[in-house]
Symmetry: C2
Subunit: 397 residues, 2 copies
Amino acid sequence: MKFSSRIEACGLSPMRKFAPLAAEAEQRGVHIYHLNIGQPDIATPKIYYQTLKKFSSPVLSYAPSNGLPEMLEAVQHYYAGFGVQLEQGDILIGNGGSEALQMLLACILENGDEIVIPEPFYPNYATMVKLTGAKVHPLTTSPEEGYRYADKARVEACINRRTRAIMITNPGNPTGAVLTPQELKLMLDVAKKHKLFLICDEVYREFTYNGEPLMSALQYEGYEDNVVVIDSVSKRFSACGARIGMLISRNRALMGHALKWCQTRLSSTMADQLASAALYSVGSEYFVAMRKLYRERRDTMLRKLREIPGVVCEEPKGAFYVMAALPVDDAEKFQHWLLTEFEDRGETLMFAFGAPFYATPGKGINEVRMAYVLDVPQLERAMDVLAKAIKQYNEQK
Amino acid sequence: MKFSSRIEACGLSPMRKFAPLAAEAEQRGVHIYHLNIGQPDIATPKIYYQTLKKFSSPVLSYAPSNGLPEMLEAVQHYYAGFGVQLEQGDILIGNGGSEALQMLLACILENGDEIVIPEPFYPNYATMVKLTGAKVHPLTTSPEEGYRYADKARVEACINRRTRAIMITNPGNPTGAVLTPQELKLMLDVAKKHKLFLICDEVYREFTYNGEPLMSALQYEGYEDNVVVIDSVSKRFSACGARIGMLISRNRALMGHALKWCQTRLSSTMADQLASAALYSVGSEYFVAMRKLYRERRDTMLRKLREIPGVVCEEPKGAFYVMAALPVDDAEKFQHWLLTEFEDRGETLMFAFGAPFYATPGKGINEVRMAYVLDVPQLERAMDVLAKAIKQYNEQK
């Protein structure tokens, strides 16, 4: 039996590849600080469970393929809150932002096509792009420049006749970089000039820490055909397990094509759409409290990381990740060692190893992405464990 | 902006294309008998809602990418009930059988590849195949032969060096054909001989009406590398809106590749996996009652259809669809007319028009698939409405 060359080209997720080794370590009684997955530890608003409790329907039928009206209305209302008027036809509900992205890429990419993505980027982007037969054209950024990429000449140098789109995450995963309104406008102008989609993954929209005026790409006029936004309830409401996300665009031709995908898989889940719609009723105080909490965590992780000799990292402005270069030969090997050979008082830690965050071969080998999704005391201890592990790993070699 | 040639080649679902016109008709006060979608009207077992009610977790986290342990165990237990021993690594949970199929096809198909599918087939198969860049090689069947296709010479005539798999639905959608154990063995032997996957969509497993000894492809020994089963809770438990399905295979290389897809979209929904796992606790009396009910419906629809002059159809042995040739020029045009110009005492009906059930151009133009998912009085009335509509449609032309 033969497998597709596309799936052969894909690897397991760097966030999840070591899950079996982690399970073994936990069975040995080792406690693991999980900094590998962007899984918030914040309590999910109770309204989610209250809505599930009330849900009852004699027949659990398919939802409409484009999305449940309640969910579409909740998204409209949320966006109207910062001045973005959406029609229901501008929104498709997916099984998480992940499926929203899968359906989008199926509409715009195929063999030989290219998509420009600033690197480091969320590794699942690369897997999804590979599965279409297209490839990522990386726009390399560096921590020394604060991972900034909105430079006309640099972006245009990545564009060729096979380019179909530019994809950005704002605020950035894994970098935490936040585009200024001017930078976002520049990206929009480049996309429009070259007749490209500008795909903005805005799932971390509520997570900025320095008072940056974060703009959604949907707030700019005159780019209706270019802008595509990926959104999700996962991070915003600490509801990753709901698997409810959105594809949003005013490009009706695009949405017409994406609807074909939606119809092909019939619908998203009924219960989770209802309960996710209810999540949007939480007040803005929820986000204010969350930002304060994450800011403390970011500051803690950054301070502790900078105390470890040889670690290089930038202050993230948003999202909840730190990308850091560690003084080790290979972060993937180091992770393997952390799960199989190391422990400090019965504890170890996990991160996402860096190479899959880059499309450029050889980059990111000694880098890691760590999610600050634990409370401050746990983060402090995790960073102490990391410091000891780095020392021991380098000594035993 | 340019779209992928693949998505351009896809159409809207024949089951859902007319949903907007249906909504308009309903707004005008017209009642529609929905025979277009395989959406059972049977009550969903209460245990689904009871499980949702009890579900509470401080943080709604991602489920494991391969599936929630509770769900995997429920599937293992169900299969063990008819002698199929599965390991958890043989099972991946998807967002419906639809996503299970999407991930499977991503693993085995790419540009230029072919997959053999007996036609008429479930139209979403073709859309999913097109999105991989591969194409359906149809194995044409006819109502005169009871839609049977398990003939070695006929199957082998469809296989060439680009063939990667044979895909069958058993019991058949839309044909209702049920493979005999000998026929299924023949299909397995052909697949094995030619080193192909045999993909068996068995979501209608519990729906057979004449006491046929229905076998799962997983019950045959010696085909472990070839057999892939698609399964789902949707039809079995009248739980279409849960969107929980399964990819099942003992081919570990395949499952390793499919896990990459699973990790890329992170996980399936937590609540619906828990509640779907609970559905498997219903006793066999549930299926016995359901079969009795659907058998009455099948017999009703068949009897009424055969009273309409010019209608040609075969008795379906399983699933809950009838494929019928109507005495009209074009079933798609007829459907449009039914929703925009026709009504009988304020009522009309919907079916799935036939052409998209075929890959061979020109076939199925005057055919329709009707799902017998309404109660007997409603089906009788719907068939009366159909008879009147056919007469009036042909008179006014």
